[in-house]
């Protein structure tokens, strides 16, 4: 039963952080290249555009949810399982979600990178 709780928590952390990352990435693509906008409209206009972007606010909320679900997951489950499992699953989940929702071209090079990093993070944090 404890395993079920732990893995539910890990799944919750993973899903909320993937959703948060996707929304934030989409928001920043809508805002546009910050380096170009900086010269055109100035820094304050960029800040206003970012903070009034709907996806940015939703992404921030999802990130907050991910943070608090990680806190709860850590209080239920074993730290040495929850932290590495959640962060390495997030790398793989993000690659899938970015392909589907952000239409990024996740080629073989990027799949290998995501899998290597996910495995490395699991080893490092475990």
């Amino acid at each position: 039963m404890k395993h079920l709780y732990t893995w539910t928590a890990i799944l919750l952390v993973t899903v909320t952080s993937v959703v948060g990352d996707i929304l934030l990435a989409r928001a920043m693509k809508q805002v546009g290249d910050v380096h170009q906008l900086w010269r055109q409209v100035g820094v304050w206009e960029i800040v206003v555009r970012v903070f009034t972007n709907r996806d940015f606010c939703l992404g921030l909320a999802a990130m907050a949810a991910a943070f608090f679900s990680l806190l709860f997951a850590l209080s239920w489950g074993d730290v040495s399982l929850v932290a590495p499992a959640a962060s390495s699953l997030t790398f793989i989940g993000t690659a899938f979600a970015a392909k589907i929702f952000l239409h990024e071209k996740v080629d073989r090079r990027r799949w290998i990178a995501a899998l290597l990093v996910a495995a490395g993070v699991a080893l490092l944090a475990g």
Binding site: V31, Q40, A98, G120
Partner: protein, 177 residues
């Protein structure tokens, strides 16, 4: 990729690692925070290590958002995962903690993953970029000076570089004669 963009990616990596290690160092000084004594969170924020750590994490977030505005999520995430390696190296050489063989293997895997993604383009999707606020005048001005190794993938292959303009003019006149 310009030097400035590499700096932003380095900022994401370094600020996250520095912020995390400062928070963890500060939290060890303040001790446990229980749900029944949430007031101790406010005390923790006044710990200098935690305060500076929060500033670093805010800087991380700004750099992360900056990077996401011109690069793919599947590029930024692996490219900045070197922060995990940095944390392990800080633990080994600054804090003199033991780093096990498995962790060194983890460091090697992450570094391999980073080198894989760093060799490819930073941006592959333009679907959302096209909806962004108007950039046309700027885009028209810079179209000719986009470097071939840059993240921009949409330039037609036949567009000549402005630096090549002067040479063919002279060459044409000489071949005509």
């Amino acid at each position: 990729m310009t030097f400035r963009k590499y700096l932003v990616l380095a900022g994401v990596t370094v600020f996250a690692a520095a912020g995390d290690s400062m928070l963890s160092y500060g939290m060890k000084q303040t001790g446990n925070i229980s749900l029944h004594h949430l007031g101790s969170v406010i005390v923790a924020v006044f710990n200098p290590w935690i305060a500076v750590g929060i500033v670093f994490l805010l800087a991380f977030f700004a750099a992360y958002m900056n990077a996401l505005s011109w690069a793919d999520l599947t590029y930024v995430l692996p490219a900045t995962s070197l922060g995990y390696v940095l944390l392990a190296l800080i633990a080994r050489f600054a804090l003199h903690e033991q780093v096990s063989l498995l962790r060194w293997l983890g460091i090697a895997l992450i570094s391999g993953g980073v080198s894989f993604v760093a060799g490819g383009p930073a941006l592959t999707s333009h679907k959302h970029g096209e909806k962004s606020h108007t950039l046309e005048p700027e885009a028209a001005r810079v179209t000719g000076i986009v470097n071939s190794g840059d993240s921009y993938q949409g330039m037609p292959s036949g567009v000549p570089y402005p630096t090549a303009k002067s040479a063919p003019l002279g060459a044409d006149s000489s071949t005509d004669e």
